[in-house]
Amino acid sequence: MSILLGPQPEVAAAVEISRPPAKRRKRRIWAWLLALWIVSGAYMVPADQQAVVTRFGAVVNPRVPPGIHYALPRPIDSVYKLKVHQLQRTVIGGEIPDAILGRTQPASSEFLSGDQNLLNVRVVAQYSVREPQDFLFRTADVERVVKTAVESELARRVARTPVDDILTTEKVAIQNDVLQSAQRALDSYQTGVTISSINIEDVTPPAEAADAFRGVAGARADAIRLVNEAEGYANDLIPRARGEAAQLAEQAQAYKEGKTNRAAGDAARFNAIAAEYAKAPKVTATRAYVEAMEQILPKTKKIIVDLNGNLDVTIVRRDHNAATNPNGDIQK
């Protein structure tokens, strides 16, 4: 303030004479305070952060990289630092503690599938800051907007998908679709965030129907077991049949060989005998006949009759009865 006073020799002289050291000290304090105020504009942005600088509320530097920088001191400039690379999590269909403990909250996690089944779905979305300026100034509650957009897209996507697909094959497709469409919505709201992942952490049927869903899993396992058993049967049966077929083939071959060999043997024998027979047909025939009779007749009962006399057939019967009577002796 002393600067404002201007030239006033008498007074100044009087003051200087009365308290010269005090006045100088006062000036020095003011100068120091001014210097401190100016220096207070220096700030540091850590490696994982970026900063936005505003002057009287208006953005003057939308993206300050990490390092030491200077902005005009308060209240002229303000510096907003943001952890741009840090992923932020938000849970849809429950709270973060639910996700950790594995609980489901029916009221907040119930989604309607395309074929009108109710499912409890819990999704974790991760996002990070892409445009610090938009992130800071365009949206009142960024996390809520992200959560709402993701939930909306999830509900829409799930309502177009049958329950079996949601539970099994479509999970990844749902995640990708929700990520893309929710990102589009967030871009149109200028939230300045990028969703980096949408992850379906948990999809479960409601408790009221859980046992029926488990029953389906059991039935599927049963069906697989039946098929496996049948395949086991087939795998056992067919090699056996092949074995049997091979056996039949071998037996047939053996039969053929046996039959032809025997025939050849018989033929050779016959030819040999026939050769001898040709030399002495009469004697050979008689010998063959008599030898055969020698073999046959000892086994049989014989009745010799004279052709000139009459044959009384009753003797044959008597003899026959005696032979077949189990108590009687066999007579020869």
Partner: protein
């Protein structure tokens, strides 16, 4: 201190005060509405340092996007089905002057939004079937364009009446009415049971098919082997017949004799009674002596 110096100090302080009262800075997140004795005179949308008369005062409005999320409510679709729909509205203040005159604050704004959106939504949903919202065939789900139209009309109305910009209206959650849920659960259970039965039946069908096909293959293998075996046997028999025929046809009478004698050996056993004539070839010698041999 002299009187003159006091005056100068007072004047300086007054100038400072006037400066303080005339300058204001607007942040990126805000609108400033400059009012003069309560009457709005202008809206300042640009962030930065601005000047006003010291006697003018300022009302601040948050211009950021916010989400209004009304309670879920039941809507009736064209095909007379009830759906519980939770929607959300993304909105922000666009005209602070109109906003302060017609609405005032955020919670009042949300009530107005609720009225506009609810009627629009029930009209929009009343013109389409449940299938367009909930369907297992994705092509039929087309609620999004309808809500875009709703957003546009609601935006026009809200902007004209309340100075509010409606950025987006969307369905956030679809559900079934609480009183329907038990029957839905029962239906889900029945569906699951049907699917379980189907799985079992399909498994059984497949197993039976595999079983039968195995049996058929076995039969094919065995019968074809039998066929081949019989062919081989036949060849054997034919070959044997040929050999026999070839050998025996050289001397048929002798073969006849030998073969007949062989068959006697088999046919005549110990149960056979032979009545021999004393005149037979064998016994001729017995009955007639040496003359019988001739």
């Amino acid at each position: 201190m002299t009187t003159k110096k006091k005056y100068i100090l007072a004047a300086g302080a007054f100038v400072l005060l006037l400066t303080y009262l005339s300058l204001y800075s607007v942040r990126e997140t805000e609108f400033a509405l400059v009012t003069q004795f309560g009457r709005p005179v202008r809206t300042v949308a640009n962030a930065g340092l601005h000047v006003k008369w010291p006697f003018q005062s300022i009302l601040w409005f948050d211009r950021r996007l916010r989400i209004y999320n009304p309670r879920p409510s039941e809507f009736l679709t064209r095909d007379k089905k009830n759906l519980v729909i939770e929607n959300y509205v993304a909105w922000r203040i666009d005209d602070p002057n109109r906003f302060v005159q017609s609405v005032g604050d955020t919670s009042a704004a949300e009530m107005r939004l609720h009225d506009i959106i609810w009627s629009g939504l029930s009209a929009a949903l009343g013109t389409q079937d449940q299938e367009s919202l909930v369907s297992a065939t994705p092509d039929k789900a087309q609620a999004a364009p309808r809500l875009d139209a709703l957003t546009a009309t609601a935006d026009r109305a809200a902007l004209a009446q309340y100075g509010i910009r409606i950025v987006d209206v969307r369905i956030k959650r679809l559900n079934l009415p609480e009183q329907n849920k038990q029957s839905v659960f029962a239906r889900m259970r029945a569906e699951r049971e049907r699917i379980a039965l189907q799985y079992r039946a399909e498994g059984e069908q497949q197993a039976l098919t595999i079983h039968a096909s195995a049996d058929r293959q076995k039969e094919e293998i065995i019968s074809s082997a039998y066929k081949d075996a019989e062919k081989v046997r036949g060849k054997g028999d034919a070959e044997a017949t040929r050999i026999y025929g070839q050998a025996y046809s050289k001397n048929p009478e002798f073969y006849k004799l030998l073969r007949t004698l062989d068959s006697y050996k088999k046919v005549l056993d110990d149960k056979t009674t032979i009545i021999l004539s004393s005149d037979s070839e064998l016994l001729k010698v017995l009955t007639r002596g040496e003359a019988g041999a001739k």
